[in-house]
């Protein structure tokens, strides 16, 4: 017998791939296996946000108990956002936890994630460092988020060239590219503080 989870994902998948609303909103869904338990999602960064121009890959796992329990979703593309872990891509969003409802679909989840990119919730953080920066140094937060969009999410919009030269400075000292960028991002792009944290 076909489980309710499989049957529903099949129907949802058709809804998403045929809906032209979703190509307009830059949302995609791709199947990774034949039993409809693992999918790959893709959302475009919303306009007028530091994520504009970026493309974000999402890992989607469908539990056997779907749609009575939410799908498990995390970001595969690295992102600088208060509600998304810059390390693991784990997402803090109520509808993926206790506010899930059986009438929600992968389509509404992807649209909600896009909305989360446009409206961060720093008081309910997944990444405390990013959330703190968002609240106390918003200008640097915006620049850092835009820089990550450029480096990791393939945006071609204006980057922050001085950030690149700082990262290069650390790479030249023998530090790993990504680790250097994380250290600098976490320390307001202060090179000395970043180096100190890399040594600790």
């Amino acid at each position: 017998m076909v489980s309710i989870a499989t049957a529903r994902i099949k129907r949802e998948f058709k809804e998403v791939v045929t809906s032209d609303e979703l190509t307009k909103c830059k949302i995609k869904l791709e199947l990774l296996n034949d039993n409809f338990t693992e999918l790959k999602g893709e959302i475009g960064g919303p306009p007028d946000t530091p994520y504009e121009g970026g493309t974000y890959q999402l890992e989607i796992k469908i539990p056997e108990t779907y749609p009575f329990n939410p799908p498990k979703v995390r970001f595969l593309t690295k992102i600088w956002h208060p509600n998304i872990s810059s390390v693991t891509g784990a997402i803090c969003l109520d509808i993926l936890k206790d506010q899930w409802a059986a009438a929600m679909t992968l389509r509404t989840v992807l649209l909600s994630l896009q909305a989360l990119l446009a409206t961060p919730e720093p008081d309910d953080p997944q990444d405390a460092v990013v959330a703190n920066q968002y609240k106390t140094n918003n200008k640097i937060f915006v620049k850092t988020a835009r820089h990550w969009t450029n480096i990791y999410a393939g945006s071609t919009l204006a980057a922050e060239p001085e950030f690149d030269s700082k990262v290069k400075q650390l790479i030249d000292m023998g530090f790993d590219n990504h680790k250097s960028r994380v250290a600098l991002s976490s320390h307001l792009w202060n090179v000395e503080h970043a180096i100190e944290s890399l040594y600790n």
Binding site: V2, I4, A7, R8, P67, F68, D98, A101, A103, M104
Partner: protein, 86 residues
């Protein structure tokens, strides 16, 4: 001309009168049954909540009896789920 009816076969169609075409939980048409049933109709009835949203009875029961707190509310509008007595 005289016509004598020797016999006839009655045919009837039925459909659920709901405010939507598909069940929001399993996303199957209401005139079809939920995933666990074979035949639509009385074997797989619909129920309406006081909020006026409608689901296959089997689907909404699975939701309400689930382990999450939010499951006590309608999956469509989050109002407390109470079956509307007809």
């Amino acid at each position: 001309m005289k016509v004598t009816i020797k016999g006839y076969t009655g045919v009837a169609v039925w459909k659920w009168v709901a405010n939507d075409d598909t069940c929001g939980i399993c996303r199957m048409p209401f005139d079809s049954c939920c995933n666990d049933c074979k035949y639509p109709g009385d074997d797989c009835p619909l129920v309406w909540g006081q909020c006026s949203h409608c689901f296959h009875m089997h689907c909404i029961m699975k939701w309400v009896n689930g382990n999450q707190k939010s499951n006590q509310s309608c999956p469509m509008c989050r109002q407390a789920w109470k079956i509307k007595e007809k």
